[in-house]
């Protein structure tokens, strides 16, 4: 970390750890930008009338909230920060396979972000993050193409990161590090990378087609010229459904590490958890049509997609059961990362179970395009992925920075986030089933009470997110100095200094045991429970 100083040493670095930190700064900025949009949305929704902003502005707000949060925060988040920093270390490597490509990935995210930022400042885009045709191609007169280019470029950032991880895991494991000795975090990122590499190009070509349609009016999505607007939905969701697994699988990888360390036990059913990551990656490509149940897609196709959607739920359930079982007869610490892990398991369970609702054809006809779906995916993305991300940040903060964060404040903000989150999003399940559609600027007055609850929750949640920003920054100067292994964790990254030296390890480690062997870390075995 302190190998060399100066802006240039950072902007031209090839060190995966520095690149991880560059990503950290970038995505944090995007998170707060997306959060600002969300704040305005929730304030507007306090009242049934559109009194804060105009409809055009509101439509841009929810569009840009989605675009920023998904493409510029969630998709890079864990892989590009924690993955970049720790994947090589966890397998005993000095760096990723292609460090220069890694740096290029970061620049691509920044450039894509600049395009998107330009679109926002120049007037915004109002198509919804899903930019369905023909609205986005023939009717919207906002900055669709600029935003689309931003997403296109950011997509290549994602593809290159995925490619880098796959090659690294295949070719750069330290001697003795067999596949089944790798930490589950690595398995999760490997599965994620498969999705990134196979799915994102389809989004890229979809964007190219939207660009051609909007700019050249070629007719591919325009019914008047023989085109098919629903074809866009198939192409879009073919990527965007696997994309949600890009967002959750790394989070699951983090949780495996947290649960194991803070119960001081190997993850129950290691093999099953590892293979469930791969199963989710594969099955995730087969279910995109469940976003099209009411789109005029054939009912028989709907049948198949619904069936397969239940299939893909099972590996996630397997993980939840295995994590819970890891706690049995463990030695459980309540350090902040573990609190986030508990929060994740609870909220992901709820979010995942509501996925079963929307997978059911009869129910989905009613709740699709309502707040029910919004609540479902926020439970998974915010209650799940973001909590895992924060848990991972707290867990690995000492390793990355050499400093401890203040435990008391951290526990408090974890609690605030948990409470604020539930108050924000649980009412939305009810709103949705009652019929409140999504993307509505104004709404019938009978929905107001639930919206007020939701906004109240959002303000609590916002506070919860700001507090860690403050104390993390504070800790860089004033935090307690962190030892190499403050948590008694296993894993190769804890065997080196905090923060690690430039080449990670003084000597290439030789691995002789599996990932979660605490006997090498703690001392004698003791009967527990």
């Amino acid at each position: 970390m302190n190998a060399s100083y100066g802006i240039k040493s950072w902007l031209l670095t090839k060190d995966h750890k520095r690149i991880g930190l560059l990503y950290l700064a970038t995505i944090t900025l995007f998170f707060f930008l997306g959060g600002a949009f969300a704040t305005l949305i929730r304030i507007e929704l306090l009242t049934p009338q559109g009194d804060l902003v105009s409809s055009e502005t509101y439509n841009k707000l929810f569009t840009m909230h989605g675009v920023v949060m998904i493409f510029f925060f969630l998709i890079p988040s864990i892989p590009a920060t924690l993955g970049n920093f720790f994947l090589p270390m966890m397998i005993g490597a000095r760096d990723l396979a292609f460090p220069k490509l890694n740096l290029l990935s970061w620049y691509l995210l920044v450039i894509g972000g600049l395009f998107a930022l330009f679109a926002m400042l120049a007037g915004g885009v109002d198509t919804g993050w899903t930019f369905y045709t023909p609205y986005s191609t023939s009717y919207s007169n906002t900055w669709v193409i600029a935003t689309a280019i931003g997403i296109f470029v950011a997509g290549f950032s994602s593809i290159l990161t995925g490619l880098n991880f796959i090659i690294t895991v295949h070719t750069m494991r330290a001697p003795g590090m067999t596949w089944f000795r790798m930490p589950l975090f690595v398995w999760a990122h490997y599965a994620t990378s498969l999705i990134q590499v196979l799915g994102t190009p389809v989004l890229a070509v979809t964007i190219v087609l939207v660009f051609c349609e909007r700019y050249f009016h070629i007719g591919i999505f325009d019914p008047a010229l023989g085109g098919d607007p629903v074809l866009f939905q198939h192409l879009f969701w073919f990527y965007s459904h696997p994309a949600v697994y890009i967002m959750i699988l790394p989070a699951m990888g983090v949780i495996s590490e947290l649960v194991s360390t803070f119960a001081r036990k190997p993850v129950f059913g290691y093999g099953f958890v590892a293979f469930s990551s791969l199963a989710i990656a594969v099955l995730g490509f087969l279910v995109w049509g469940h976003h099209l149940f009411v789109s005029t897609q054939s009912v028989y196709a709907g049948l198949i997609f619904s069936f397969l959607s239940y299939f893909v739920a099972i590996p996630s359930a397997i993980k939840v059961f295995n994590w819970t079982a890891t706690l049995y007869k463990g030695s459980i610490s309540y350090a902040t990362p573990m609190l986030y892990a508990f929060g994740f398991i609870g909220l992901f369970t709820i979010g995942g179970l509501t996925g079963l609702f929307v997978a059911s054809l009869g129910i989905d006809v009613h709740v699709t395009d309502t707040y029910f779906v919004i609540a479902h995916f926020h439970y998974i993305m915010v209650g799940g992925a973001i909590m895992a991300y924060l848990g991972g940040m707290h867990y690995w903060w000492p390793k990355m920075t050499g400093r401890m964060y203040p435990e008391g404040w951290a526990k408090l903000s974890a609690l605030v986030i948990f409470l604020g989150f539930n108050l924000t999003f649980f009412p939305q399940f009810i709103l949705g089933y009652l019929g409140m559609p999504r993307r509505y600027h104004v709404y019938p007055p009978e929905f107001q009470v639930l919206h007020v609850l939701s906004t109240a929750g959002a303000s609590v949640l916002a506070v919860g997110y700001v507090i860690p920003m403050v104390y993390f920054v504070w800790s860089l100067r004033y935090g307690a100095i962190a030892p190499a292994n403050p948590w008694g964790a296993s894993g190769l990254e804890w065997k080196t200094a905090s923060p690690p030296p430039k080449h990670n390890f003084e000597e290439t480690p030789i691995v002789t045991h599996g990932a979660y062997d605490y006997s090498h870390v703690i001392g004698e075995e003791v009967e527990v429970g």
Partner: protein
């Protein structure tokens, strides 16, 4: 670190422990990248499949308006360029510096020939008013309300061949760099991974064309029927 040859040691990057590891990583890396390219082109192939099955007659008429002789000739040109690329890789395996450069340059020449012929074809389309999106678009033999469908064919034609041409231009850049470094003596029998991996990319671009040619040029064509 035990290494076998000077060349490989010099080329070994610091994140790798052995030359073999580096070679494995590079090769696997290129294969994965090519798979992403398959998915990328795949989206276009899907759109093509959907619309061709919806409008088979219009697509057939539009396809016959393409010059199959030029297309076939171009296909042969590209196949030959893949052959010269193979010869370049073989020369690299044998460490024959001048042969590498020669075959890479031949590959480049054939590649530019392909691109030049493509440009000629596109210009022909412009002359015949077959450019989609332009106000004067008109395909003969197709009624007015199906001109939109005909435009779809040509949109896919230009999008797919355009994407392909873009990849060829990038490929030409790669081959040029390889030729330059080969000339400088960078590649030997022990270290020729970049030539190998560049060859993979070139062959891939060739294979994409092998699919594009029949799908775009050969709809409803029969050997017995001399249609121009």
């Amino acid at each position: 670190m035990a290494n076998h040859a000077q060349a490989e040691t010099l080329a070994l990057r610091e994140q790798f422990d052995t030359a073999e590891q580096q070679k494995d990583a590079s090769t696997l890396g290129m294969w994965i990248f090519l798979i992403t390219e398959v998915m990328f082109f795949g989206g276009m192939f899907l759109a093509y499949t959907v619309y061709r099955s919806k409008y088979p007659v219009t697509f057939a008429v539009a396809s016959t308006s393409l010059n199959v002789y030029i297309g076939a000739f171009n296909t042969v040109v590209l196949l030959c360029s893949s052959f010269t690329m193979v010869l370049a890789v073989r020369a690299a395996q044998l460490g024959k510096r001048r042969a590498i450069v020669l075959f890479l340059i031949l590959t480049l020449i054939l590649g530019f020939m392909f691109l030049g012929i493509k440009a000629f074809e596109w210009n022909e389309k412009f002359q015949e008013h077959h450019i989609p999106g332009m106000a004067n678009f008109h395909l003969e033999g197709v009624p007015i309300e199906q001109q939109g469908q005909a435009q779809l064919f040509f949109s896919l034609y230009f999008a797919m061949t355009g994407l392909h041409a873009l990849h060829m231009v990038i490929g030409a850049g790669i081959v040029s760099c390889l030729a330059w470094w080969a000339h400088k003596g960078k590649y030997t029998a022990e270290y020729m991974t970049p030539v190998d991996v560049g060859g993979l990319y070139w062959h891939f671009v060739d294979i994409i064309w092998i699919f594009l040619f029949p799908l775009l040029y050969l709809i409803d064509r029969h050997l017995g029927k001399w249609v121009s």
